[in-house]
Symmetry: C2
Subunit: 179 residues, 2 copies
DNA sequence: GTCTATAGATAGATAGAC
DNA sequence: GTCTATCTATCTATAGAC
């Protein structure tokens, strides 16, 4: 029998999805509460302010980033393949959480900005360990950032063919080296 | 003697800068009016609603994009060099307008989303004409998108050295071709 | 732990004087 | 073309019952 997630998680889910679907502005406490199936008062018992709600989502982000970095390091296809392919999906909790965080970061919420920045720093670390050339590593990071930029703008997902082309293009780039 | 720009332009400037500095949410009609040096009523004479204000900024964006595409086609260093180097600055009206539009697009404003999408389509056209390989062209576009993603997140500007490295890395990528 | 009721602040927009 | 005054709606947050 299916258990409904704890209220706290349902609230964070509702907040995250509302931000993705309709922007930060539409993610009011009332809308989040309704979507999570609680009253405003009930929501404010778990997160005492809107800032606390954002901090809650950033806590979730940090957990997911840590898990992702660990997976990236051990992926059999290598960190670059993993990085590009997982940047693109928008299907999992992780990507959805990142897109929501990106939108909050644009709304000038320092906690969201810092959370994403430290995630970027960790990814760049692993990529630099792999390709050694810092300029190439930074360029690959920019490709990943570009993918998130498009995701967060509601662009459609890449086809499987486009995805394969992109991965192989990035691999050729990684094999290149400055003269 | 310095002429102050017409009120309409001052209002658009104020709107744009407020969005960049503090996010869409802080760019209320009152805040925009104050920054532009008019009253709310004065603002609403020129732009009858917040949506009209957004449409006004999108009109400015379209003009700037058209001018940019024209420059990109005739730049002596070539379209790719021009595309990468100008994606990065955040100093000119054009980049600031794009970043503001990107933030509005994330707030689920369809007009902003459409304006940016058509700009991206035009850039991609020119790049594809230059490098011929569509997968490489798309990858270069993603690098440019990544730069804007970082700009709109308030990341610091690249150093001149990082910029040169990036441009040469992208050029090596452009020289690559699928087997 | 969750609810209702409500306070207090601020948003977008209108009306009409100048 | 610009202003002040004001209306209405909505948002965050608090208080207190259950």
């Amino acid at each position: 029998m299916q258990q409904s997630p704890p209220t706290r998680e349902r609230i964070l889910d509702a907040f995250q999805e509302l931000i993705i679907e309709s922007g930060e502005r539409a993610a009011t406490l009332g809308a989040v509460a309704e979507r999570a199936g609680v009253s405003k008062g009930g929501l404010l018992y778990h997160f005492g302010s809107k800032e606390a709600l954002i901090d809650g989502l950033m806590g979730r982000l940090k957990e997911l980033v840590d898990a992702d970095i660990a997976l990236m390091r051990v992926d059999p296809t290598g960190p670059i393949d993993y990085f590009i392919r997982t940047s693109v999906s928008m299907e999992g909790q992780f990507d959805r959480c990142i897109v929501a965080a990106a939108r909050l970061a644009q709304g000038a919420h320092p906690a969201a900005r810092d959370g994403l920045r430290s995630a970027q720093a960790e990814w760049l670390n692993v990529i630099t360990e792999t390709v050694h050339d810092p300029a190439i590593a930074r360029t690959i990071m920019l490709v990943g950032d570009g993918i998130y930029y498009n995701s967060s703008m509601g662009a459609g997902a890449l086809t499987a063919q486009e995805m394969d082309d992109l991965v192989s293009t990035v691999h050729r780039l990684a094999a290149t080296s400055a003269p």
